[in-house]
């Protein structure tokens, strides 16, 4: 993936807030790349998916998230920070309520085997089935 943004972020002006007061919007490397390919290079989503070596549904997810974040930064006047490559999990992700680990479950038991780290049975599906929301919350 070619992810070399020209800058590492954007700051709003016309608003007298300290950095601490501003909740930063983190734009992931893949998200930046999806906007660059789809909107700047004007590729189709199919072509952008090929370029990024991801499946088409994954690209769509990344791109949608990217636009939501950019919109949030614009509308709410937030700093936008472009980050290094992160993760976009397709589906079937679980979170352990004991230790906070996230995991997928290829066994097909829907997390029923418990947490693969601490062994706790107190696990649940992540809110949208992916790891994304959780990861952002924790920043």
């Amino acid at each position: 993936m070619t992810c070399v943004p020209a800058v590492s972020g954007f700051k709003p002006y016309g608003k007298n807030l300290s950095d601490e007061e501003r909740e930063v919007v983190f734009l992931l490397c893949e998200e930046y790349e999806s906007i660059r390919l789809c909107d700047y290079e004007r590729l189709t989503q199919e072509a952008a998916a090929v370029e990024m070596e991801v499946s088409r549904p994954t690209l769509t997810r990344i791109y949608r998230s990217a636009r939501e974040k950019v919109a949030k930064a614009f509308v709410e006047g937030r700093q936008l920070v472009i980050e290094g490559g992160k993760v976009y999990y397709a589906s079937g992700w679980f979170v352990c309520k004991e230790c906070g680990s996230l995991f997928n479950d290829p066994s097909g038991h829907n997390g029923g085997d418990g947490c693969p780290l601490c062994g706790s049975r107190s696990v649940e599906k992540t809110e949208d089935g992916t790891k994304r929301e959780k990861q952002n919350e924790e920043r």
Partner: protein, 120 residues
């Protein structure tokens, strides 16, 4: 079952490396025998495909579950496709913490393996 932990160094006191493909080495742990070995990650300083190559290496050595702070997008797709379990640690751990938890819930893990085997 063989599991692997991304480690920042060759010691149980090393931190679990947050970047799967760039970690110094992998701690490969056998949940049945409790044996562990430190395997170097030969791809940690190579180019773009480092993470994917490391993933392939682990897969071909029979690893069924991998622990790291994060997995790259292509590695995630690869592991999903190959049925490898990924465990994303959301807090910093040292390798010894993880090994201790393995020991603690080895009984429970063995039950799970039995169930998996029966299912297959």
């Amino acid at each position: 079952m063989k599991v692997a932990i991304s480690s920042a160094g060759y010691s149980p006191e090393a931190l679990v490396d947050s970047r799967f493909g760039r970690c110094a080495c992998f701690v490969v742990y056998d949940t049945e025998s409790g044996q562990r070995t430190f395997e170097p990650n030969p791809y940690r300083i190579t180019g773009e495909d480092a993470a994917l190559k490391a993933a392939q290496m682990l897969l071909s050595s029979g690893v069924k579950r991998v622990y790291a702070g994060q997995f790259g997008i292509r590695v995630e797709e690869f592991f999903q496709k190959k049925g490898v379990q990924m465990v994303v640690l959301t807090r910093p751990f040292v390798v010894a913490d993880i090994l201790m938890m393995f020991e603690k819930c080895r009984g429970a893990t063995e039950q799970n393996i039995d169930r998996n085997t029966r299912k297959e």
